[in-house]
Every structure is written in structure tokens, then in C-alpha cells.
Amino acid sequence: MAKKVGLEVSLAIAEAVKLANADVVAAYPITPQTHIVEHLAELVANGELDAAYILVESEHSAMSACLGASAAGARAFTATAGQGLELMHEVLYVVSAMRLPMVMAVTNRALSAPINIWGDHSDAMAVRDTGWIQIFVENGQQALDNVLCGFRIGEDHRVLLPVMVHLDGFHLTHVIEPISIPEQSKVGKFLPPNQYPLPLDPDKPLTMGGFGPPYIYTETKKAQVVNLTASKKVILECWREFGDIFGRHYSPVEHYHSEEAKTLLLAMGSFSETAMDAIDKMRKEGKDVGLIKLRLWRPFPFEELRQAVKNAEVLIVLDRAISFGGPGGPVCSEIRSALYDEDRKPKVIGFVGGLGGRDISVAGFEEIVNRGIEIAQTGSEQEFEMYGVRE
């Protein structure tokens, strides 16, 4: 039987990496870091996880070490957040273009300046074009589950891509939640050993990450586009099988009383849980509102999103990141773009909030929904509104 325990979410992720029997963990233990890699260091030191734990000199090196490990056919894991993810940025593109599977837990945090290590999605959105699969989770259980799924998806020979599991810094990483730890035997069956098809091997020499002059670079990018887009099929398959085995189900766009609701709110990550409470309260008061939770961010689930919002009149999108000087939040602008050519589509109203660790309460979500409905009727002079700003 799977056992249910009260566990800090960061530690639960480390337990998932242990269950996945990772071969290599590379990490840079400085702020912003989490207990994920700290607990993994303990597990390796105590002999509970037979892995090489590489302490590197920066996040750039952590990602580079994982790249090398994955190229050699190892199952590699790392975790980072905020500024650390920014320092990895250059290598992220290399890993995905080289089609090297690995899992990285990104504990979403704000970016400086001013110095702020609290949660928002600035770091996650800054890496949306790096060619990784990006999954957003809303609680500790989902984080653990999706670390396991991440390895399985990334290592599938139809995919061979790195996966980021995004969980909100502090709101999830530093809280204790009841978490069901799956049995090792079931995980072993669900997640067979990594078998990278063309690993580094002195007997079969290969060039990885070679030279790509103008006459071939475009073809390599086309291959990446097709590959990442096609990975959605495997992600769906994996989540279906995970649900069959472990009884917890995931999908790219998740619904909460959204099927027939006229007004929809869309949120990502841990804030969706507070948003659910707000939706419950508003529905009890007779308001026709529902919630959409975007679980899969890359590859973007165009069909599922269009299907989910087609009957709504207003779609209110909350972003926890800003595109400065642009259309507001990256999530909202992508959703607008995804719906632009649809015949039936809701009005899309963008809010930015929950920045740098600022909470949005149940009452806050109510306020956002009510203001969104008002803007849909009367219009707004701004492209988007920032929620909760003192003026």
C-alpha cells in the first residue's frame, strides 16, 4: 500500500527522485535553492539513493553536469529557482536541442531587482522558449507525481526531451502537506530504466552538440518544433497510465465547474487552489463562474484550451509574471493568440498579480473576477490591470 505522510513538499520531491532511482543529481546549494537538493544530498550520503551527487560551482554548471550525465545515458535531476534558473538559461536551450531527457524541479520565484526570493512565475515564463516540456502543479502530491511522469515522458523514445516541473516557491516548497508516497515496486513498473538510444560510448564515437551552419540550422529547429509539439500525445498517454496505476489523474487543461459557466477564471500553479475556494463561494451566491487550470504550458495545449473556453463569454486570466512594455502577462497573451481565429470565443481580460510572493486571498480572487466582468462590459483603457497595487 502507498503510505500517506505529512511531508514538506520539497522533501516529497526528493523522495520522488529517490523512487525514480536517479543516477546523477547536480546542484548548486545557494539561495535561491530549496530543501529538494538538500534532502537529496542526505539520501545519497545515507546510502538510500545510489546516485552521483555533483556539487558544482554555479547553476550554469549544474545544468551542464546534468547535460553530460544525460548524454551518457544517466537519469539526471536538478532543482533550481529564480536567479538560479536565469543563470542556467544558456544551457537550457542546448539540452533540449540535443534531445537530452532529464527532470528539473523549478520552484517558481520572482527575479531581481529589487532582491526578492519569494514566489511568482517570472522565472518560469522567462524560459518558456527554451524547448523544454513545462508542467505546472498546484500541490505537493502533484509535484511528486509529475516528477515521476517527467522522467517517463522525457525518456520516451518518441520524446527525448527535458522536463521542468514547476511548483510555486514557498507556497508549495516550504509547506507540509499530506502526501501519498507510491510503492517502489509500482514506480519501478511505471518507470523502466532510462535507455537513451545514442549515448556517449567510447566504442561508438558520436559528436553531440556539433556545428550547425546556416544550411542546416533551420532544419534542426524544424525538427525541434515538430518533436516538442508531438510530445503532447505521449504526455497524455503517460498521464492516463499514471492515473490507471496510481488513481490520480492529470490533463493539460483542468476544469473546475467550468463546463457551462459564462465567466471563467484561468490560473496556474498553487493559486488555483485558492481560486477554487473563491469559485465555490461565488457559485453558492448564484454567480455563473468556473475555473480553468492550465497544467501543461509547453507544449501549449491549443485544442484543449479552445475546447474548454468555447462556451464562455468572459475569460479572466491571472498572470504571475509581466512582459514589460508588452501585452501584460505571457499566459494571457498566448491565450488571446490561441483564440484569435476562433468563431466562438470569450472576451479575454488580463490581470497580473501575486508578484514576488504577494498572496491573493479568496476575497482577492472574487475581486478579480468581479472587476474582470466589469471590464468585459465597459472596457478598460489599459491592456491589462495589475491586481492589488497601492496607488
Binding site: 527525448l160 538510444p197 545514442l198 558520436l206 559528436t207 542546416i216
Partner: protein, 97 residues
């Protein structure tokens, strides 16, 4: 390589553009990048081989008569051989000349 890289369609690329054929870089002639080429004056050369040692491209080879000569299909015209030659036997000449 069955096809030259410049003829490959995106579907034909190896996973992650891995190059599974060792040594295939020699098929890519980089010599046309240069704007200057080294010219050896054999009357000054003492066949010491320092040009061969310093060439960053590894494109200088010893010929049967013991002289070291650059393969211009790969030479990028950096001029290091010219700088290092103790006998001043190498001169860099503009490509158009």
C-alpha cells in the same frame, strides 16, 4: 555520409542532430573562410616543423621531401605559422592576389 549535410531534410536528421559518423568534419571544407593564405619560401625553410606544431587547424602536413605545407582546403588564414616561423620562410598573401 550518404548525403551531404546541406542536402538533408529535417526528417533525416539524427536525434538532437547527433553526428554518428566519426571524423566527418573533414568533409566540411573551411578553407574558403580565409582572406590570406600562407606561401612557403622553400629556400629559407629548414624543415623544423614549428608551423606544423602551432597550426590550430592541424592542416599543415609533412610532405615526402620533408617540407611542411598547409592544406588550403582547411587553412583559415590565421597567420600563426607566419608569426612562429623562425626562418621567416612563410609570407601571408592576400587571397585575391
Amino acid at each position: 555520409m550518404a548525403k551531404a549535410e546541406g542536402e538533408l531534410a529535417w526528417q533525416e536528421l539524427e536525434i538532437g542532430s547527433i553526428i554518428a559518423e566519426p571524423g566527418s568534419a573533414s568533409e566540411y571544407k573551411t578553407g574558403d573562410w580565409k582572406s590570406q593564405r600562407p606561401v612557403l619560401d622553400k629556400s629559407k625553410c629548414n624543415k623544423c616543423g614549428l608551423c606544423y606544431i602551432f597550426c590550430p587547424e592541424g592542416c599543415i602536413e609533412e610532405e615526402a621531401d620533408g617540407y611542411f605545407v598547409a592544406d588550403l582546403s582547411y587553412c583559415k588564414g590565421c597567420g600563426i605559422c607566419d608569426i612562429e616561423c623562425p626562418k621567416k620562410a612563410i609570407t601571408m598573401v592576400e587571397e585575391e592576389e
